[in-house]
Structure formats: C-alpha cells, structure tokens
C-alpha cells in the first residue's frame, strides 16, 4: 500500500482504457475570482488527465483550489483560461444548455453537507434528477427504489432528511447521484460530516459501487486515510498541482 511518487502524470496508468483519449483532460486550466477589486487566483495552469474508471482523490489545504477544480470538472463553474474536456465535451466552450445536459446526464454530485431537498422524502430525493431528465414516473420510482436498496436503505424510503442520520443522508445522496446513470461522480468531502466509522462505511459503499459500475470518481478530501483508497492522489497547493501520487493496490487489477 506504499504510495509511490509518479511525476509523469497519469499516462501509463494500469486502469486506463483510452491511452490517447483521456476521459478528463485539463489543459492549463485557470480560474481567477474577483474579490472586490483584487483578483484571486484559485487555480493556475493545471494540467490533468484522468482515465475512465479511475478514482482520483484531490487533497490539499484550504484554499488550494481543490473544490474549484471539482466544480470546473462538474460544469458548475467556468474556467477563466485554459480548457477542461470531459468525455469529449469542452466545458469552457460549451453553451449553457449543453452544460445543463452534461450535469444532468453525465455527472453525479455528492456533497459534504448532503444537500438533500429537505421537504422531499428519501425516494423523492433520489427521483428528483430523473424528474429533471423527464424519466417516466413509474420507471423512476422503480429505479429510485432499487438504488435505495443498493445503498442499504430499503426501510427508509419515505423518511424525510431530518428523520435520518448523517450516514443515511449521505447514502440517499449517493443513490441520487447515481440516478441518471452518470459516467462521473464528483464528491466534495463526502465523509467530512460523518464520524469515522460511518464515514468508512460510506466510503466502502462508494468504492464498491464505482468499481461495480466502472464509474470515474473524483473526490475532494482532507482525510489521508480516505485519499489512500484512491487510485491516484493529486496534491494541490495555492492553485497548482504540487504532486501526483499513484497508490499501489493489490486488488487493482481489471
């Protein structure tokens, strides 16, 4: 399990299927914010290649740009400069309707604070992305039910978020992120609000789900133990990639 330094980026990653056509490709990705009159550089000239099916962890101190990078990849933010391409779609050049479709059909978000809709029951929360995707009602109820079963919440369908524990809420959020069969899961400190035991269980669930479905996942985390579960760890500092670490896994064979 000893992490191995890999300065050469992701080329040659054993889990990559598309050697020349990476699933995520960031090229000199830059994001500057204007706070008042001063410009703050959240991310500067970041190059990144992520292969399909890869689990990447983004680590670094606060303000290092990990959330910014995640939001750029998720199509929630626009790059100031450079480009990020996901599954062939250039997000910086994409139109707003293209980004809406991209978020709806290809990306699933998982947040630290769960971000469930408080007035919706568990099953309604899982259904909501499918409602946006205009999935027929009967289909989405069936899929939401089976997704909740797959995250181990078979008995909590009709509970509202405030009637559930943190772990349960995050399981609902995971089920919701998977609702529209995305290719990419973006998780922003998914275990940050959970105790270590619950966090470990949620992480186990996430890892087994992405492995089973061949999903690509990028996860922002502070926790080195969580990061160690990833295929690669990208260390960010002051908006730059400091180093990229490839973890050696005994089970990492396809």
């Amino acid at each position: 399990m000893a992490p191995r330094l890999d300065a050469g980026g992701s080329v040659g990653n054993p889990s990559g299927f598309f050697m020349n056509d990476s699933f995520i490709h960031a090229n000199k990705l830059t994001r500057h914010y204007c706070v008042g009159k001063t410009e703050v550089a959240a991310l500067t000239d970041v190059d990144l290649l992520v292969q399909r099916g890869e689990f990447t962890a983004l680590v670094g101190p606060s303000g290092s740009g990990k959330s910014t990078l995640l939001n750029l990849i998720g199509g929630l933010d626009h790059p100031s400069d450079g480009e990020v391409t996901v599954d062939g779609l250039s997000l910086g050049a994409a139109t707003e309707p293209q980004l809406v479709r991209y978020r709806r059909e290809r990306v699933g978000f998982i947040f630290q604070s769960f971000n469930l809709i408080p007035t919706f029951s568990a099953v309604e929360n899982v259904e909501s992305p499918m409602m946006l995707a205009e999935t027929p009602r009967s289909v989405r109820r069936a899929r939401a039910t089976s997704l909740l079963e797959s995250v181990g919440l078979a008995s909590r369908f009709l509970h509202k978020p405030n009637e559930m524990s943190g772990g349960e809420k995050q399981r609902v959020a995971i089920a919701r992120a998977l609702a529209n069969r995305p290719l990419l899961l973006l998780a922003d400190e998914p275990t940050g609000n959970l105790d270590s035991k619950t966090g470990a269980a949620v992480l186990d669930l996430l890892c087994s789900l992405i492995k089973a479905q061949g999903l690509t996942m990028i996860m922002v985390t502070h926790d080195p133990e969580v990061a160690a579960r990833a295929d690669r760890i990208i260390h960010l500092r002051d908006g730059n990639v400091q180093r990229i670490e490839t973890t050696l896994k005994t089970e990492a064979t396809i």
Binding site: G74, F109, L132, R176
Partner: protein, 425 residues
C-alpha cells in the same frame, strides 16, 4: 422536466407553506370576491331589466307627434295646443286606421291625454269624490309594476266608450266593494271642472274594476276626446291636435324594429322598448366595467403580496435552487417552477374569492326578496348572477395575476449562480 411534473412540484411546494400561501392569496381572494360580487350583481340587474322589459313586450312601439308634447305627459303646463299645431306632425285618425292595416301590426292603441289642470270627480249617491285619471292603456303593464288585475268585468276599454274603476276609486266614492261585479254595466257620473268653477258631467258605463288601491279611473279614448273638446271649448280637437300617442304592438321584435324605422321616416317620433333596453344595458355595462376595475385594482395590489411571498420563498430555498441546478435543472425550469407556484397562489385565491363571492350573492339573493316583499315591490328573481364566463374569467385573471407577480422573483431565482446558491445557508 415534463409539464405534469412541474405542475405537481409547484403544487406541493405551495402546499408545504400553507399559512404563508394562504396569506399571500388573501389579497387575490378579496379582489376576486369584489369582482365576483359586483359583476354578478350587474349581471343580475341586467337580467332583471331584460325580464321586466320582456314582460311588457319588446314588440311594442310608442308613436308620438313630432315636435309636440312628450309621450306620457299631460301636455305642457298651461300649454295652448293650437299654437303648436303648425309645427306638429299630428297623428290623425286616418294614420291610426292605416297603421291598423299594416302587415305585422297586431294592435293599435291610440291615446288622448287630458291637461293636468283638469279637476276630476266621481259622483255617486249625490256625493262627489276627487279621483285621478289613470294614464295609458288600462290592460298594459308598466315597468317594475305588476300588470293590473281585474276584479270584475274587463279592463279593456271599448272604443265606443266606458270607464274602469279602481278598487280605491270605488272606496273613495263610497261604492260598496263587497261585490265589485254589481257595479258592472251601471252608469257613473264623472265630473270635470275648471279652476274657474265651470263643471261638466259625463255619464260613463262601468266596464270593469281593477284591483288597484289608489283612487283612479280609466276612461275610454272616445270619452277622453269628448272631455278634451269640452275643456278647450272645441268640437274638433282630434282633427286639430291628433292623438297624443299611439301604442303599436307588432307581431315580433324584428317587425317592431322595421315599423319603428318606417314610422320615423314618416315624420313621427317613435320610441321602442328595445331602445330602452339597449340604453339600460349600456348603463349596466358601464357600471360593470367600473366595478371590475375596482376589483382589478385590488388584484393588482395583491400581486405585491404574492411577489413578496415568492421573494421570501426563493431566499429560503436558495440552496435548493443550487442543488437543482447542480443536478441539471435549467434556468428556464427554475423560472417556470417559481412562476407556477405564484400562479397557483393566484389560482387558489381566485377559486376561494369566487366561492366566497358566490356565497355572498346566494345569501343576498335570499335576503333581498324578503325586503322586497316588505316594501311590496313586485320584483322577483335573483339579483346576483354568477355566469360561467364570470367564473372562468375571474379564475383565469387571478391565475394570470399570480403569474405576473411571480415573474420577477422567478427570474431572480433562475439567474442564481449554482455555486453561490449551494454555499447559501
């Protein structure tokens, strides 16, 4: 998002803030209620007017000489009829006879009015009692009055002469009213007197008794001509002055309108009930528009309440908007969602306003006849009439008001940046 899903979501979102939605829609309720009550009152009044006119008959025309005294009057006070003859297009007996022969004319009733200064008394058993000359056609109806009811004999006066007494006139003259039929066929003396003290008696055969409590008599046209001749000390008053008015009844309303054009062309003044109805309806329409405007102003004020509620809701649900956008909701979907919610508040307000307004109308429809009976006014039917057009129109308008109120807040919600919205606490 499909339209049914949007509607369902908006409806459940309104439902989860019941009190606030109810308060926001209160303004719409008041505005809608005002419109419903006012417009249904106008519709009821319009129906009343039309019914009253139709009861008398829209097939009736009143022809009067042109340039002369007005219909229904008793001549200008102290008027000297000969002076006006030159300018007047008089209605002669020949005119009346030719009208009787016109196709589609079912009835021609000529009228002669006595000057208002004529003193009139009914003599019975040697005592004289002052009575009033009933105007117009004895058997015809008057607006907002019950048609006269016959107690005995016929109220239709014959051309050859005769008199109809009211119950009140009989009582005043001291004629026994126990058996009104007994007076039929008897002769009563009607005495005319001038202010100078000249008197003249006319013997008239009683043809009928009407159930009218005011002391009045109706005298046939032939007798009235005789009275007028005496009054003006003339023998040919009809030839000179013609009839004061002639009521024509046509076979139907269309024929009545055609006749009215024809007679007006011949130089007479013609008034038809159709014209009255048109004018009355125009007035009612004007009042309806005014009342509707008052209600509409209330509804416009209600938009402020709805807009405020929506701004609050959007502020509270900023994070939810961020979540929805992250999950792939478009700005258009967010805008539509909030506009639908505002529209629902308007719709709910409209439905309750309509319901309450309708109930108020129902209550007043029950209460007003009690008052009318107390005042002995012969008006029946409803004064508040909620038509389907009003019901549908007012709900549609209330919904529209809600949508308008939601426009700007929804636009604001749609423009929210998903990242900022997600950071919102």
């Amino acid at each position: 998002m499909t339209i049914p899903d949007q509607v369902r979501t908006a409806f459940s979102n309104v439902g989860r803030r019941k009190l606030r939605s109810a308060l926001a829609s209160l303004g719409v309720v008041v505005g809608t209620l005002t419109i419903v009550v006012m417009v249904s009152l106008a519709a009821g009044v319009r129906q009343q007017i039309n019914q009253q006119f139709a009861a008398i008959g829209l097939d009736r025309l009143t022809v009067t000489p042109s340039g002369g005294s007005r219909r229904g009057g008793f001549g200008p006070p102290g008027g000297f009829p000969f002076a006006a003859t030159a300018q007047k297009k008089v209605i002669t007996e020949q005119d009346v006879n030719s009208w009787k022969a016109l196709p589609g004319v079912t009835k021609v009733i000529p009228e002669v009015n006595l000057p208002s200064s004529v003193g009139l008394e009914l003599k019975w058993n040697g005592t004289n009692q002052s009575v009033r000359m009933g105007g117009g056609e004895a058997a015809g109806g008057m607006l907002f009055q019950e048609p006269p009811e016959s107690l005995a004999g016929s109220l239709e006066l014959l051309d050859s002469g005769g008199i109809v007494l009211s119950l009140g006139a009989m009582k005043a003259a001291g004629i026994s009213t126990n058996d009104p039929a007994r007076i039929i066929g008897q002769t009563v003396e009607t005495i005319l007197h001038t202010s100078r003290g000249d008197t003249q008696s006319f013997s008239l055969r009683v043809q009928g008794v009407s159930k009218d409590h005011s002391p009045q008599i109706q005298v046939s046209v032939a007798d009235r001509i005789a009275m007028k001749n005496w009054w003006f000390n003339a023998t040919n008053i009809l030839e000179r002055e013609g009839y004061d008015s002639v009521t024509l009844r046509a076979a139907d309303v269309t024929r009545a309108n055609a006749l009215s054009v024809q007679l007006r062309h011949a130089g007479f003044q013609v008034q038809s009930l159709e014209m009255f109805v048109t004018v009355a309806n125009r007035i009612v329409t004007a009042i309806t528009v005014m009342f509707t405007l008052i209600g509409s102003i209330a509804l416009l004020v209600a938009t402020i309440g709805i807009a405020n509620t929506m701004v609050m809701a959007i502020y509270e649900r900023t994070r939810e908007i961020g979540i929805l956008k992250a999950m792939g909701a478009s700005s258009r979907e967010i805008r539509q969602m909030f506009m639908l919610e505002a529209g629902f508040i308007g719709l709910i307000g409209g439905v309750f306003g309509l319901l309450f307004g309708w109930l108020i109308g129902l209550g007043l429809n029950q209460a007003i006849p009690i008052y009318l009976r107390y005042r002995e006014l012969p008006v029946h039917g409803n004064f508040f009439l909620v038509t389907l057009t009003l019901a549908v129109g007012v709900i549609a308008f209330a919904t529209f008001i809600g949508l308008v109120a939601g426009l700007l807040p929804a636009q604001r919600a749609a423009r929210l940046d998903p990242l900022e919205a997600l950071r919102h606490e």
